[in-house]
Symmetry: C2
Subunit: 566 residues, 2 copies
């Protein structure tokens, strides 16, 4: 591609609205432009990288046995009403009416469409399993679009759906897709982890998020410092074995704690460690109240509470509810002499507390000398968030935290959609069964942004070869100089003949501008055709290492092929 | 691809709602499924063909120097208000509000988006010309979506836009794009014509439609039986030279013609030929009235009237207006003794009428013995529709009519958008100038349908190799037979190794079903692995010709490569 014939509008300034590196550089290097909040055009270089990522995804989907189709963005509201999501999805789902006032959703995802397709077209177990994917534009009206392509309102996604007649078949395809996802993100050069994620009632092993590790990530990952274990912090079980201290139990007594309501205030007022305090939170679990206890230095994980009770909704009781149910305000609740109507559950760590402190269910009063089991009874489970320094749940190493950008998600859906929408097949015995489903998403444009976030330096992008918009950037220093111009053209055509992807800077610009643009764009190999063109000598420079050398034009081609093969 | 692992839901019945062959077969052969009126899913085979067409388009766009980008579907209303089309586009433009009640259009086309992009990013003549294209999903809320993919509400389009600093530069790129379009439709195997189309005030040579000749087409094309001349019938000039007959002029006289109002009624009542009658139509041309004359056997072309007067709106006067302006009803109008306020213009053919008939501007009365120039004056121009049998305007051959499906359109836009939206550049003298634009569209999914319409027989599709979903269909007659199954698999893998695109029918189905499906799908070469598998003999059959022969498996590969190379 000749730079004179394409549109690469580079900027020297950092755009005011771009907070993160990838967004700044994608705009500055002329890869994207914003059309509306969260809506972008991919300019020629951005489109090239997008296609490279799509091609990697396509190849790995094919390898995993997934077959490509293309579903529409316009989706009839009726389908979403069948699944129930028309009502539950919220304003992220963009809705509109056609000229006949029929309601439509703009596809935010395609479970409904594909489930209705399979419901109509597949009737027998003989036609299962099926694994279908598309690469398609999605619409989600995010409340706060931000970080450029990382959270947009119109974006490119690969979404796959699999349909099965048995759980084993789903497990098999899930594993293949998991593997395909790992290969995709590896090929993109990303530093990522497959992270155990929340799948609601279905249990942790049934869903993984693929997270690119990055400071700007919005999710926190708990990972082992020595093994491949990684989980969303909400999902990581705590396997710590707690031991009681040897301290002798003392007598239980009430103590006035005026104005001390938080753990910090109580611990400070009574001059004890937070780990000696027992935190008591009143939750509303569906339609009943439950008192959940944890050690003062731990945080209660409400997803664990929800999963333990197999509840639909878990939320903290309001101050009014606490007052009514426990006859005390929220800062003074505790497990001792609680009404039998209130179930008391506690994190394992609580059991090992000796001579602890807890609320007395009287405003401004706490107990001290609290000894669980002696002073109150509770059911013990794992109810807390994992912390840095905890043992890794797989028994290998200790836990560290990192921030992650979610680029992919594999999920065992089960029969959620097939049951709601009547997508059944006849099994070997002629009995009607709901299809068992899996779904598998990759944010394609988000993956591009995650790569951009990871591969840059102070001068601009440093694209990994697999997704670079071009492999070689030939720069003719002075296009008005005949020798330079001709040599640049010759080299350009030679490389094209070898099927090398080349960008030729044939613009009439100052060399400083050309080099700055080239660094910004970040193509792996740069060939500069300058003063020594008359001798047939050009300069080759690697963007990543900065390594450079002069070489005769007769050898430059083989030299480049060699470097690209590395 | 293994047929057992993909979704090809074939149907024996013709779908009730499918009127045309392409729609029927695309549904029956499992290439597409409808999601809503005018909204379709491309199932795996349909997606394959779509990709082939896209790839041809992409290659020819690159050859023509057009550069790919990708613009969004969500377009801010503000842009459409700047161009004025927010108000003029009508309900075809799908509109919606986001969660903040901001108005958006779903992209029906992208003139506004790309003009705003270039306005922001290109400031100098040095950066022009630019030629940019995208392959993208478009939305148009058609009043009556029909014929499957031929007129949908969500469809795939290639749209290109070029920007220039001179008319010559636009002409040059226009010619390149015209050539690229011809190559694209040739490579798709289509029987098409590049047709001169209406471009409003800009003159006929500035826009061409690419029409696939087809009985189901909605446009009528006038083409020469011997040259490449073709035009939308609205656009074809009439070049016929008319000669007066030798008949001696008789005296003008009034005659009562009670109840005779149409040309047919008058001609029949007076026992003359329609070609002796002078048809007089009163038009409202912008804000004045014009009487337009044509020979009774000719049709007045209001686009020619509009272009002649350089008018914005041309419409027939209402009966009330005629009564008021001419003091007669519409069936009795004529050019003799018309008020000077009414301009009279006539088609050239009228001038040659001798002793003709026309309305007398008195209800139920006509003149006979009418001789133009003696009895009235008029300005003569080409105002009629061309007819079959007329001389071709290029002087070669005579005109025939055909129906066409519009698959592409190239258009010299000029400065319509750049002026409205302020997309200017600085010329060599530092003066601000509006960019001169061209736009170039191809209905990609419509092209697929046009190919489908053209390439089929009574059994199903007969895809041309360039866009066939696969090149070879290997059918294992009985997959339970070890020899057959193994030979089928071997052949499948061998062909894949040679990079031949193969579909393997490995389903447990009756052979009749397999053959019927295979004919329906229409892959160019079929290889049947049946009873003679034990001897290593398979049957090769060409879908198009029906030609078939048996061949040993050792030779089948080279035989297939040979046939595919044809």
């Amino acid at each position: 591609m000749r730079q004179s014939a394409t549109l690469i509008p580079t900027l020297r300034e950092v755009p005011a609205d771009a907070e993160v590196k990838s967004h700044q550089l994608l705009v500055r290097s002329g890869f994207i432009r914003q059309n509306a909040s969260g809506v972008y055009s991919f300019l020629p270089l951005g489109k090239k990288v997008l296609q490279k990522v799509e091609e990697i995804v396509r190849q790995e989907m094919e390898r995993a046995g997934s077959v490509e189709l293309l579903m529409p963005a316009l989706q009839q509201a009726e389908l979403w009403k069948e699944s129930g999501r028309w009502y539950s999805y919220g304003p992220e789902l963009m809705r509109m009416n056609d000229r006949h006032s029929r309601e439509f959703a703009l596809g935010a995802t395609h479970e409904e469409v594909i489930t209705s397709l399979l419901r109509d077209e597949v009737k027998s177990y003989k036609r299962l399993p099926l694994n279908l994917y598309q690469i398609q534009t999605k619409f989600r009206d995010e409340k706060r679009p931000r970080f450029g392509l990382l959270r947009g309102r119109e974006f490119v996604m690969k979404d796959a759906y699999s349909f099965h007649a048995s759980q084993e078949s789903l497990d098999e395809v899930y594993d293949k897709m998991y593997e395909a996802y790992s290969r995709i993100f590896e090929r993109c050069g990303l530093n990522f982890r497959a992270v155990i994620a929340d799948s609601g009632a279905m249990g942790g092993k049934d869903t993984h998020e693929f997270m690119v590790l990055s400071e700007i990530g919005e999710d926190t990952i708990a990972y082992s410092d020595t093994s491949s274990y990684a989980a969303n912090i909400e999902m990581a079980p705590v396997v710590t074995q707690y031991k009681k201290s040897n301290e002798a139990p003392v007598e239980l007594e009430k103590v006035n704690t005026p104005d001390a309501r938080t753990i910090e205030e109580v611990a400070s007022f009574l001059n004890v460690e937070a780990s000696s305090c027992i935190k008591s939170l009143l939750f509303k679990v569906d339609d009943r109240f439950v008192l959940v206890l944890a050690r003062g230095d731990h945080e209660i994980n409400d997803i664990k509470v929800k999963n333990y009770f197999e509840a639909t909704v878990v939320e903290l009781a309001t101050p009014e509810e606490a007052k009514e149910v426990m006859a005390a305000q929220i800062g003074s609740l505790g497990p001792i002499q609680v009404s039998e109507k209130i179930e008391v559950v506690a994190d394992h760590a609580v059991k090992a507390v000796v001579n602890g402190v807890c609320g007395a269910n009287e405003d401004g009063v706490h107990y001290q000398g609290v000894n669980p089991e002696r002073d109150f009874t509770a059911t013990y489970e794992d109810f807390r968030f994992i912390q840095e320094g905890d043992a890794s749940p797989d028994g290998q190493g200790i836990i560290k935290f990192a921030k992650g950008i979610e680029v992919g998600h594999v999920f065992k859906l089960g029969t959620r959609y097939s049951e709601a929408m009547g997508a059944t097949y006849l099994d070997e015995n002629g009995r009607s069964q709901p299809m068992i489903m899996g779904c598998y998403g990759i944010g394609v444009s988000r993956t591009l942004a995650a790569i951009a976030e990871q591969f840059n330096d102070e001068k601009g992008f440093v694209w990994p070869q697999a997704v670079a918009p071009y492999h070689v950037h030939v720069i003719t220093v002075n296009v008005k100089n005949d020798e330079q111009r001709k040599l640049g053209e010759t080299l350009y055509n030679q490389l094209l003949d070898r099927r090398v992807e080349v960008l030729l800077d044939d613009r009439q610009e100052r060399v400083g501008v050309k080099f700055a643009d080239s660094d910004l764009i970040g193509i792996p190999v740069r060939v500069t055709v300058g003063k020594r063109a008359s001798e047939g000598i050009v300069e080759v420079k690697m963007r990543q290492t900065g390594e450079s050398f002069e070489v005769h034009v007769d050898e430059v081609e083989s030299k480049i092929m060699e470097m690209l093969a590395k």
